[in-house]
């Protein structure tokens, strides 16, 4: 079976599902962020797959570039928030971070 659209889509789906799993089951905010990165990459793989096999062409790659830029901004802001959470709660477990002020 030659490699086609579905092969890319399946890899994207695997990454997406693993990202969802990491987001739901992890007990460390940084690991949850890694799950978010996996999900963004899964979306990017789909964009690229459709740009190559789906007739979307260069438009799909443009969308993927915007996703990458937004992922960079998200990572910076999220890391800043996580460092503040750690400073205030001395923990990065999302279940323990449950008050808006001390």
């Amino acid at each position: 079976m030659t490699v086609g659209l579905n092969h890319f889509l399946v890899i994207g789906a695997i990454l997406f599902v693993l990202g969802i799993f990491a987001m739901l089951s992890r007990r460390n905010v940084i690991a949850v962020l890694m799950g978010v990165e996996l999900i963004l990459n899964a979306a990017n793989i789909n964009f690229i797959a459709f740009s190559r096999y789906g007739g979307v062409n260069i438009g799909g790659q443009m969308a993927a570039i915007f996703v990458i830029v937004i992922a960079a901004g998200e990572a910076a802001v999220a890391l800043a928030i996580v460092l503040n959470i750690y400073k205030n709660f001395k923990s990065v477990n999302p279940s323990e971070v449950d008050s808006l002020r001390d």
């Binding site: 030659t2 490699v3 659209l5 579905n6 092969h7 890319f8 890899i11 789906a13 990454l15 997406f16 599902v17 693993l18 990202g19 969802i20 799993f21 739901l24 089951s25 992890r26 007990r27 460390n28 905010v29 940084i30 690991a31 962020l33 890694m34 799950g35 990165e37 996996l38 990459n41 990017n44 793989i45 690229i48 797959a49 459709f50 740009s51 190559r52 096999y53 789906g54 007739g55 062409n57 260069i58 438009g59 443009m62 993927a64 570039i65 915007f66 990458i68 830029v69 992922a71 960079a72 901004g73 998200e74 910076a76 802001v77 890391l79 800043a80 928030i81 996580v82 750690y86 990065v92």
Partner: protein, 221 residues
Amino acid sequence: MFDIIFYIFGAITVVGALTTALAKNIVYAAFALLFTFFGIAGLYVMANADFLAVTQLLVYVGGILILLIFGVMLTTRIGRVDIRATTGSRWVAGVLALGLFAILMAAFFGTAATHVEKGADGKPKTVSSWASHSSLPWSQSKWNKDATGEALNVKYGSPDEAKTHEGSSGTATEIGALFLTDFLLPFEVISVLILVSLLGATMIARTEPTPEEEAIAESVS
């Protein structure tokens, strides 16, 4: 050959993602993410998206992954036992993820993209691919054409023969031209967005100076 390399990159990507999602040690998860990003860059190259592959390496491996590892190092106390996910939430998350995967698979393999039309004698006649549906909205889109109005999938060949297109100068030229023409407004908006988010990140992460530090700063000035 194409298929073998695809499967190698795919395996690197999937194994890295599995380790990222399942490893108990968060540092292992971070380094597995490195392999995932490398594998994805390889997949981009396989799909003729060379500029995207380089961007992926620069931004994800060079930037985001370093940020994540900084986060791990700054928030993990050395010698502390990692808190693992409780079994209950792991089960729920696993069931949800598997269900989602099943739905996605059903959608992928149940749609027209892989539909094989049967001829009158019951033998497979034509394999319809996405690109051959000229009625699909995106095949009519303006981004399917280059500056001279030539349809790009004609220029680059249809997806089935794109595998062998040689002598093309890559996608960087096309993307650069599109950024300054059709995508100028989104480009400017996202530039402002990333500027604001980086400024905001430094503002949030900045530590307030303690009274003693303020006194020292005043005495110096």
